[in-house]
Symmetry: C2
Subunit: 196 residues, 2 copies
């Protein structure tokens, strides 16, 4: 069987690009690429493509490698639900196709199943080549899809008024409150200034 | 003045890569690249580099273009605070350097100020070349920085037990509750299946 073309990208080039961007050859990005391919094929012509992933793991990088949608340009959104699923949609029509991995379809694909279920076991390193070959075949059975209609576009299209935070003096969106989140009670991740 | 090298990337190559990845030449990504450069320069050798941005606009793409950190590999986190700031840190030592744009330093840089304050006005298209030239000079004055000590690493390093959702049958992280978020009350963004 010849290697597939995924969203217009040759398999070998896709593997190289994921190594460069993501840091390693990722089964999740390969499967994600096949999911995006399936979604876009079903969706058809989509002049205003947006994507939302339901996990922050791997799938966002597949989207960023294969579509014009990135986190920083706002056309890719991520929701941290830990679900191996994504939706490509048109932000004007709000019509989309959600695609996901169907675990019931993995019976004949032991490596894919082992990889997909790894999160509940000790993580084992599976050989990428063999796993990739199985993923390419399994994808036809294991990618489920259905059309969806979003309630609203997830991309912020309105600019918001900003002002200076009375605490730190930095600019922030005024609708967030009288002080910026970093000066309020949301500074949960940092900081103290290190003491020498 | 010669064009700068930003995180080891020639200015011209950086502009090309941002057009390819982000979709257009972005002043925010250019300024963000100079912020990353400043943070890494101050931080020094960082074998376990992670980055957190305090906005989802532009800065995440600067990080993904110039460092090994991406959304999908978990080394880049974004916090949607609408603040033009980011922190590079070492996820083992938890020592980092936060960098941000100081609006008080923009007095001598009318284009940069106009661009940075655009969110509160009607968005105007500024000429990229002139703005970029001003950004490169302004960065030396307008990037503020301070060392920070994070309370914890933001990258999830533990795998979590997963199981089947009784609603949809898909896999999800069991700690999120008895059903997956998409089947619970968090399905705020989608879906109804479109009616024909």
């Amino acid at each position: 069987m010849s290697d597939p073309v995924i969203c217009g990208v040759d398999f070998d080039d896709f593997v190289i690009s994921m190594e460069e961007f993501h840091g390693y050859r990722s089964p999740g990005i390969l499967f994600g690429g096949l999911m995006i391919e399936a979604s876009l094929h079903e969706l058809g012509d989509t002049p205003y493509l947006n994507v939302v992933t339901e996990t922050v793991v791997c799938l966002p990088d597949a989207v960023q490698l294969l579509t014009p949608c990135t986190i920083g340009n706002g056309f890719l959104q991520t929701i941290d639900w830990g679900k191996f699923a994504l939706t490509c949609y048109d932000r004007l029509s709000l019509l989309g196709v959600r695609v996901w991995m169907n675990p019931d379809a993995l019976g004949g694909y032991p490596l894919v199943r082992q990889w997909f279920e790894r999160s509940s076991h000790k993580k084992e390193k599976l050989p990428f080549e063999a796993l990739a070959a199985e993923i390419i075949v399994a994808a036809k059975e294991a990618i489920s899809q259905r059309p969806v209609h979003l309630h609203r576009s997830l991309k912020e299209s309105q600019s918001v008024p900003t002002g200076r935070c009375p605490g730190c003096g930095e600019s922030y969106p005024l609708h967030l409150g009288p002080a910026c989140p970093a000066c309020g009670d949301q500074a949960y991740y940092f900081y103290q200034t290190p003491t020498k």
